[in-house]
Symmetry: C2
Subunit: 129 residues, 2 copies
C-alpha cells in the first residue's frame, strides 16, 4: 500500500510517516517510480509507534525497543548486547514509574469526577468548599 492509504488507516499524517522512516522506525520498500510501498504489517507497527510516542517515549528509544516487541516472539540475539539489555531494563522501569504515576493521578481524577457527580445527583452530601 502507498503512503496515503497507510496514513488513512492509521490516522497518521503522511508527514509523520516520512518522519518515522527518517528516524529509522519503519523501512518501506520503494516502487520503481520512487513511491513508498508499505507492507500490511506496518499498520500495526505504526499504531504501536504512535502508542509509544504518546506514552512519552522518544523515537530514539522506540527504535531500540521495537525489534523486541515483535510478534511472534523472536529473540534477536544480535541486538541483545549488554548495553541494549541495560537500556531495556531502564526503560521498563521508567515505564513502570510512568504507569504508577498515571494510574495514581487518573484515579484521583476519577474520584473527583465521581464525587462531583455524586454531589450533583444528591445535593445533601456534605463537602467542604
Amino acid at each position: 500500500m502507498r503512503i496515503g492509504e497507510l496514513a488513512e488507516r492509521t490516522g497518521t499524517p503522511r508527514r509523520l510517516l516520512r518522519y518515522y522512516e527518517e528516524q529509522g522506525l519503519i523501512l518501506p520498500e520503494r516502487c520503481a517510480n520512487g513511491y513508498r510501498a508499505y507492507d500490511e504489517r506496518l499498520v500495526d507497527r505504526v499504531m504501536q509507534i504512535r502508542g509509544l510516542l504518546d506514552a512519552g517515549l522518544p523515537t530514539r528509544i522506540i527504535k531500540q525497543i521495537l525489534p523486541c516487541l515483535d510478534r511472534p516472539r523472536i529473540i534477536h540475539f544480535s541486538d541483545a548486547t549488554p548495553e541494549m539489555i541495560a537500556t531495556l531494563e531502564h526503560e521498563r522501569d521508567r515505564m513502570t514509574e510512568r504507569i504508577q504515576s498515571l494510574t495514581r493521578n487518573r484515579d484521583a481524577i476519577a474520584d473527583y469526577l465521581d464525587t462531583v457527580r455524586l454531589t450533583q445527583d444528591d445535593p445533601g452530601v456534605a463537602t467542604r468548599s
Copy 2:
C-alpha cells in the same frame, strides 16, 4: 523556602520552577526583596507536576486538573463547570488509554528481557533467530 532549596528538594532546575510558575502551575509568594517564597506543600505539588509532565500531559491540562487532585479532597464547585467536567473525563480516558498502551509495551519488554535472561542462563532453550 526559596527557589534553590525547592530545586534541590524536588530535583528540578530553577529554570523549570520559574517556567511552571509562568504556566500558572504554582503561585509562590514574594519576599520584600523580590525573591520567590515557596510553601512547604509545594514540594509535593512540584513532584506531582513532574510526574504528570513525565506522563505526557501538557502544562495546559495539568493546570486544569491540579486543583482536583488536592488532598485533603475538597470539591471546588467553582471550577466544576460542564466544560471542566468534560475536559476531566476526556483526560481521564486518555490517561487510561496511555496506561494500557504503556502496560502492554512494558510487559512485552519485560517478557523479552525474561526470555533473554532465560536463554542466557540456559543455552538449551530453543529459539528462532
